[in-house]
């Protein structure tokens, strides 16, 4: 039984914006599934629908074997949800936050107390458990938030940008918790901008762009689809190689053999070619002949970044997320 099954899911907001345009995908039980896409692609909207927080317009969605609309209560008992913003009640202690979540998940007595103690230890909040969470650091709050989604031992964990805004150390810690949880058998459904972690941890992923799924598969499948090395060219004067210079450079590249794709990135010209290393001298010569000065040239084997760029024409820049952070579901801002 798949953990998540989505068919032709559509979400049109009241103002006519079509945020999700008929997507279909499946997440297997126990999978670590990455759900990627640029800002505004419809990731958060999809997560809100799957977690029963937002009504779909049409299509079918089953989570943990239950229809999200008809069996919303059953779904809510089987999932844990962590939203983009860290949500803890700062007037309550860490322990009280977890107890409240447990109570609302209909857990009681010794069972709940034991579970809360266990979780406090797992997320390293044992010492701070009875301090008001207002005094916690950002990383501690995030860990508490994560723990609060786990009190009722959910089968599926939905995480929307769980590591955004964290320092590198806390980020690594959260990823290692998630890895551990997945090894215990919890299905993880995650949106994130950190592609290296996705590559390392996600068994499969889907890329969403403009409300549609543009690619899905395992990281290695998607990378090998590119089937070529990446060559990044930086042009002198006008770093992104704006306007005429960029066009001229692309024209020159077009005359060279062996290039499978030229992608217009904001920062540089990116081309894909088989055995890219051998092509470098040709490129340098051709640019020399055309009078274009190269500021930099780099060759690398394809990464998920390339997969992302190829399918969406954009790069993921984690450092920009903070600025464009969407608020909760009621802010009507979405991404």
């Amino acid at each position: 039984m798949p953990a998540v099954q989505v068919e032709n899911l559509v979400k049109t907001y009241g103002d006519g914006t079509q945020a999700v345009k008929g997507i279909s995908f499946k997440v297997d039980d126990g999978e670590f599934f990455g759900f990627l896409g640029p800002n505004g692609a419809g990731k958060s909207t999809t997560i809100k629908i799957l977690t029963t927080l937002l009504r779909k317009t049409s299509g079918l969605a089953n989570v943990a074997g239950h229809d999200i609309e008809h069996d919303a209560q059953k779904v809510r008992k089987l999932i844990g949800v962590q939203m983009q913003d860290t949500v803890v009640d700062e007037d309550l202690t860490g322990r009280e936050n977890l107890m409240l979540q447990g109570h609302l998940q209909q857990m009681h007595g010794e069972e709940l107390k034991g579970r809360v103690n266990e979780l406090l230890k797992i997320v390293d909040l044992g010492d701070a458990a009875d301090k008001r969470s207002a005094y916690y650091s950002g990383g501690m709050k995030k860990r508490l938030d994560l723990a609060s989604t786990l009190v009722h031992r959910p089968k599926i964990l939905f995480l929307d940008e769980p590591t955004t805004g964290l320092d590198p150390q806390s980020r690594a810690q959260v990823w290692s918790y998630l890895k551990g949880l997945n090894q215990e058998g919890i299905t993880i459904f995650i949106t994130t901008q950190y592609l290296e972690e996705v590559d390392r941890l996600c068994r499969r992923l889907a890329i969403l762009d403009n409300g549609e799924i543009v690619a899905q598969g395992t990281p290695s499948e998607l990378k090998s689809e590119i089937g070529a090395d990446r060559i990044t060219l930086g042009l002198e004067n006008g770093n992104p190689g704006t306007g005429a210079l960029k066009d001229k450079a692309k024209q020159v590249l077009g005359n060279l053999g062996g290039i499978t794709e030229i992608v217009d990135s904001d920062e540089a010209i990116v081309i894909y070619a088989k055995n890219g290393g051998f092509l470098v001298p040709d490129i340098v010569r051709a640019f020399d002949g055309a009078g274009i000065k190269l500021a930099s040239i780099g060759v690398s084997s394809p990464t998920l970044d390339d997969v992302f760029l190829k399918h969406t024409g954009r790069r993921i820049r984690p450092e920009e997320i903070d600025k464009s952070r969407a608020s909760g579901m009621f802010g009507r801002r979405r991404r």
Binding site: L53, R76, V81, V87, L100, Q101, L104, Q105, G328, F330
Partner: protein, 252 residues
Amino acid sequence: MTFVSDTYYMFVRWMKKLVRNPILLFFSLFQPIIFLLLFTQLFSKFGLLLGTNYTVFATAGIILQNSFSSAFQSGTAVVDDIKSGFLTKVLATPASRTSILLGRLLSDAFRVFSQTLIILLLAYGLGVFPVTGIIGYILILITVAFFGLAWSGISLALGLRTKSAETVFGIAGTLTFPLLFMSTALVQQGLMPLWMQNVSSYNPISFAVNAIRDLIMTGYVWGSFSEAYGVISLISILTLGATFYEFRKVVS
């Protein structure tokens, strides 16, 4: 019965939040206490006109003013929950939707209840002894709590609709004094200009004040008491209806 337990846990959460922010309680009680201690002294000669001790007369009005202004904070607390994402987090659990609101409303009622008790004790120290005794105290507390509930409804509905604490605060601040002054809270109706008498006859605060004042000064006056409950019920139906309607829109 998860409905009952969910309501209880939400109620407890709000109570903890209240107790842990004593500054909120302080500010909330500050104004009625100033009225009780200073305002009544300022107008003490006024009692000659009324033929009674002014502090005794004004206590009912001050109690109502307090319930009115503290109930109005309810909406801002819910706005905070919406903005912080806490409401979303609760909605992702199987908790009963109605309980989420009910827990808040009960905590509002309880808060008004306790604040009123504090004011009544202080008034007792100033020589305000309700003629109806202990039962009178109990009836006053219950009436004021119900009254508070009716007003939290307005505040919650506004908060849920506008999602802006500033708006709720702004509207509350604008309404408080006109509604208070154009009621029988601080002055007997017969001493007001005619137009104000007319307004105060329809002002819901007057109804509640009259009932409570009777309990303090006169005794059991069923006319004023039943009128007050009629008005409070009517307002509650309207405001809580609006609240549940707006809440439905927010959660679905």
